[in-house]
Symmetry: C2
Subunit: 312 residues, 2 copies
């Protein structure tokens, strides 16, 4: 692909951060914006980061996908609740045989992308990033930032490590972003859900931080049972998550600083929750394989109720 041209679909706390890092490292990056368009077009992006602050006084800013150049790599960094926009946004921006890099949580997102654009390659990326948008075109990176990349293929057959993945990984690593390559994207997605489903879900339903959930023996047990159900979901699609992985996630969370999950932040800000991508799709994928995940189902219905009331 030579010198790759990047597009960022969704220049928020995540897309803005990674896009700015790539441009800062010298790559050609094109940003699609909505509310921050005028500000960023005139004044660029400001990044405060624990790894070093920087500003980009000038960026390629767009408020219309049709005006963007066709790019080699299109990074989808919207919240999944906005994915209904992708049939308009993706086709004009992606080069034939280009890469759509999906930096979103949840399951089966790549399937949706594959239905929108054909003759492209799809790579999924799981971001372990703690960042907030603190103002228009102004992003604060608090912690972490590494990405786990995996190539998508039909039906989530494990694809191994492809050249495409390595090329993109090089670009990111040159920009100071840690990358892990995974041979099995679906397994990586289920693994991330082991943490995301219990903590995101319960933090909203019980109005609780991670430390509170772990300090109470009942929710501590419920978290573990929900993790076991995620593993049962993974197993229904042929992916094995070991008990030791679950134990590692529990231990890791106990040691973490008290943490308000991203879904809880969305809820507190009265933004729509990513319930479908993270929980609904997991339930449906297991159900399609004949496996019902009852406690996750309980959490799902509770969140759908709270999300709907929160949007009034």
């Amino acid at each position: 692909m030579g010198d790759r041209k990047y597009a960022i679909i969704g220049t928020g706390a995540l897309g803005g951060f990674y896009g700015a890092k790539l441009q800062h490292a010298g790559l050609d990056v094109h940003f699609l914006l909505k509310s921050d368009y005028e500000q960023v077009r005139q004044h660029g992006l400001i990044i405060e980061s624990k790894d070093g602050d920087f500003t980009l006084p000038q960026v390629n800013a767009y408020n219309d996908a049709d005006k963007m150049p066709q790019c080699d790599v299109v990074i989808v960094a919207l919240k999944t609740i906005q994915n209904y926009l992708l049939p308009q946004l993706l086709p004009p921006v992606i080069k034939n045989n280009g890469v759509v890099l999906v930096l979103q949580n949840g399951l089966d997102i790549e399937l949706e992308i594959a239905q929108i654009v054909s003759n492209v390659n799809i790579i999924g990326g799981l971001c372990f990033l703690c960042s907030n948008k603190v103002g228009q075109g102004h992003i604060r990176h608090l912690d972490y930032g590494h990405i786990s990349l995996g190539e998508y293929s039909h039906n989530y057959e494990a694809e191994g490590i492809t050249n495409r993945m390595q090329q993109i990984a090089n670009d990111f690593q040159n920009a100071g972003i840690a990358i892990e390559l995974t041979e099995d994207l679906l397994l990586a997605r289920w693994q991330k859900l082991v943490w995301n489903i219990p903590y995101n879900g319960l933090s909203v339903v019980l109005n609780a931080r991670t430390d509170e959930l772990m300090a109470n023996s009942y929710t501590r047990q419920l978290v573990e049972q929900l993790m076991d159900e995620v593993a049962a979901g993974a197993k229904s699609t042929g992916r094995i998550i070991a008990d030791s992985f679950i134990q590692k996630m529990l231990d890791y969370t106990v040691k973490m600083k008290p943490y308000r999950t991203s879904m809880k932040i969305d809820y507190d800000e009265q933004r729509p929750l990513e319930v479908e991508a993270i929980i609904g799709n997991s339930l449906r994928k297991a159900q399609a394989a004949g496996v019902f995940l009852p406690q996750i189902n309980c959490l799902y219905n509770q969140l759908k109720f709270l999300d709907s009331r929160n949007q009034r």
Copy 2:
């Protein structure tokens, strides 16, 4: 038993109401009180009721079970969270071969009573009563009031309708309290849980009234799934709850006026919740028969967390 002497253990919104009705009808009733003792000893009880207001200027009030006479029928009308007091309160008050009438929600309460007092008969009563204590010795009866009575025997074998039940039913009916006699106490208790577990539980976890839970399709479905799990619990103990019964409860709740459940009222008043009697015992009884109720388990752990945080 001839002219029966009644004791009321726990003179609150429920015990105070039924006890006052019995005394008002001419029966000999003895009331155990705690916080309202001085007020009630001096000024008696005031009952405001949709069936007609009345006052009892003089009642037999006690603040010590050891000072009470031995009674033919001892009505246990405490909240179940105070049942740890029964080993002190019950033995002095109950006549040999008398009746302990347990007017409490939940499962396996009679088992606990049987461990405390022997050579007594135990009758369980399920109250469909809407009443509040609005001041010291002052009770407001808002709606309903009928009681379903069933005789307890070892291991909850169905006992049929006994003479004892009919005698007590007569006393209540003479006092204007509607009584239904049930041949199978355990079935009646499971049936009441079909309503109590989903609505009490979800009303607290989701901060919602019954009408809100029924208006949202997700919680409407969750309520039904929880009811199905109660039926599975009942079945594990040999009791059959038909789908038509569940449908009747759903229809009935849709038609009800918007209702804040008793557990939600306890929660809002920062009183301890009856989670163990209503939900914990149901889970354990099914588990003892080899049946896990996963969505009820999820609700249970959530409620234990919220209850504990609420008591701080």
